[in-house]
Amino acid sequence: MRSEIEAERAISLYADTVKRICFLYMKNNSDTEDIFQNVFWKYVLHSVEFENQEHEKAWIIRVTINECKNILKSFFRTKTTVLDEIGEQPDIVKEDYSYVLDAVLGLQKKYKDVVYLFYYEGYSAVEIAKILSKNVNTVYTLLSRARLILKEKLGGGIFEK
């Protein structure tokens, strides 16, 4: 079992990453907080040593995505509507890029992680395939299709600085 100090270190390093992934999946703060607690408690309990920081980060990303999917799949979640979801908007983003985020959030589930991991985290298709346990060709296909959809919605300029 990892120590409190190690947990604090992980939280300071990866909290933003976890938050971003939660943003892709979750629509309310209480689910995000649950996921944070679950992900970092699993980190504390995970006794296997990481090879390096990249390995550690990839593990955090994979666990966060799985936690998000688990919460969405849960019986309670599918049969009920969380009251604070209704009308809650992510107000943490400046207006400039809200249309970009809206477009990404509007993608089907299967495109969202690959878009985030590729365009924000900078992972290659091979690395994304490993993290998401998908076939590399599948990742390429998903990226290509997501790119088309986003281009259609937002114009080609979003992929350039």
Partner: protein, 224 residues
């Protein structure tokens, strides 16, 4: 590669309260787990200590009541005393009706064997079997390293006429065989000695004889 998707996501940060709440949650969980583990360890240690005490108690009890030596006292009647590792009497057996009655009327358990034998020899119920000419045969069955000491103690430590005391050493394997035949190990040893001299003699032939009579037969056959 920086692009607008990157810039958009880069604005998303975990606020301090979220991080703090998570840290507090983890801290509490770690603390609870440690408390749980400490309590569990304490329970395990206590359980182990209890089991150990019980086993030591049982072990101690077993050790005290494990028969390590046997002394057969044969006059006719025959009485056998079982001793533990501490040379204390833990069992007293009488072979035959007379011996059975004697055993009922004496209390020599937990005494050291010399004290037990002296008490036995002084017992009124035994006195009518003891005469001037009788031979009291002691057969000692014990570990090799104790044989000599026990025999010397019996010969030198009894408050009885030394010339009437005869001591033999017996074999542990004879104890069970003797009991199967309903004899004390002393009488059984004497029978074995006699049967070597005359193979026609059976156990029933000597069962009710006194040790003096058996010894006389042994002496007689030995001369032939």
């Amino acid at each position: 590669m920086k692009n607008k998707i990157y810039d958009a996501f880069d604005k998303i940060k975990a606020d301090d309260s979220l991080k703090r709440n998570t840290e507090n949650f983890i801290s509490k969980k770690i603390s609870n787990k440690s408390k749980f583990h400490r309590r569990l360890m304490l329970k395990r240690v206590l359980a182990f200590a209890c089991v150990l005490l019980i086993l030591l108690g049982i072990g101690g009890y077993k050790t005290y009541y494990t028969e390590a030596s046997t002394i057969s006292i044969d006059i006719n009647p025959s009485i056998e005393i079982g001793l533990n590792y501490f040379d204390r009497v833990i069992s007293v057996k009488g072979f035959g009706e007379d011996a059975g009655n004697i055993v009922k009327n004496i209390d020599i358990k937990n005494k050291k064997y010399l004290d037990a034998i002296n008490s036995l020899m002084k017992a009124e119920c035994l006195q009518r079997f003891v005469s001037e000419k009788c031979t009291i045969m002691f057969t000692v069955v014990t570990d090799k390293n104790k044989e000599e000491r026990m025999v010397n103690n019996i010969k030198g430590g009894l408050h009885y006429k030394k010339e009437s005391i005869v001591c033999y050493l017996g074999n542990k394997q004879y104890v069970e065989q003797a009991h199967v035949e309903g004899l004390s190990v002393g009488k059984y040893r004497a029978y074995l000695q006699l049967s070597k001299l005359n193979s026609e003699i059976t156990i029933d032939d000597i069962r009710n004889l006194s040790m003096r009579e058996i010894q006389a037969m042994i002496n007689s056959y030995s001369k032939k």
